[in-house]
């Protein structure tokens, strides 16, 4: 039956076109959001450490520091240097927190899932240092 075969082919082609539309719209929307957010980013003033879902401490980015943090799976060392914050070493299982690199813009984040630590840059006016 050539007609049925032709119809099946057309259906398959329509599906392929829809797949492509889906993929392109996902990529485009995400890229657009990324670009917009990139330009909205401003330099942050402080880093906030959240442990186990609770706010633990806030440190100024201007002041170099080396902070030992203890998380659910051991320790992590947070370094503040030249207005940037990063994790130098950690005892967690995957070390992904180290790979996430340096952060200094508002909203930028380092997440350590095994240690349940979240480090976020923000702009509190007066950072209250609790340690």
């Amino acid at each position: 039956m050539p007609h049925r075969l032709y119809r099946d082919m057309q259906v398959a082609m329509n599906k392929k076109r829809n797949d492509l539309i889906l993929l392109l719209s996902i990529v485009l929307v995400t890229a657009l959001v990324l670009i917009v957010f990139h330009f909205l980013k401003t330099d942050g003033a402080t880093v906030t450490v959240t442990k186990n879902g609770e706010k633990y401490a806030t440190y100024p980015l201007m002041q170099d520091a080396e902070i030992k943090l203890s998380g659910a799976q051991g320790h992590a060392t947070l370094i503040i240097e030249d207005g940037q914050a990063y994790i130098k070493d950690a005892s967690c299982s995957d070390k992904l927190c180290i790979k996430q690199g340096k952060i200094n813009k508002n909203g930028e984040t380092i997440v350590c899932l095994p240690n349940k630590l979240v480090i976020t840059v923000n702009s509190d006016d007066d950072p209250a240092v609790i340690s």
Partner: protein, 164 residues
Amino acid sequence: MPKKVSLMGLCLAAAMLLSYVETLIPPLVAFPGIKAGLANIVVIFALWRFGFKEASLISFSRIILCTLIFGNFVSFWYSLCGATLSLIVMALLKKTEKFSVIGVSIAGGVMHNVGQILIAIFILGSRAVLSFLPALIIFGAVSGVAIGTLSALLIKKLEKTKFY
């Protein structure tokens, strides 16, 4: 019926094996829980061959068994949330009959990562992880294309195969 059960068991074994293989691949992105989702090949195959109920059964059994063998309690919640969301969306998209296996798989990959971010917000108690979402969506879409291509191939090759 017993024959269908044995084929589903075979699917489950294959899914578990793929999950294990995936743990051997070092993570590409600096965020845990982000994987290519090799086990999703089997889930998509089951979705086409059997249906939503059977695919869910295979997917959830795989998560429970893999957690017991080489996972941990935290990874369990991430997998569960990602798998649930991706399965529901994939089943819905398949039902519209407007997308091929690859399109369904793309949506599945993206929703899997969205689900993981949602549970991360809940577990970490911080909305900060949302900043990872764009990268994870792109990564989910790309891995969805790869997984979907493999699944489509598998479905086509095994379409005429009678296992029983």
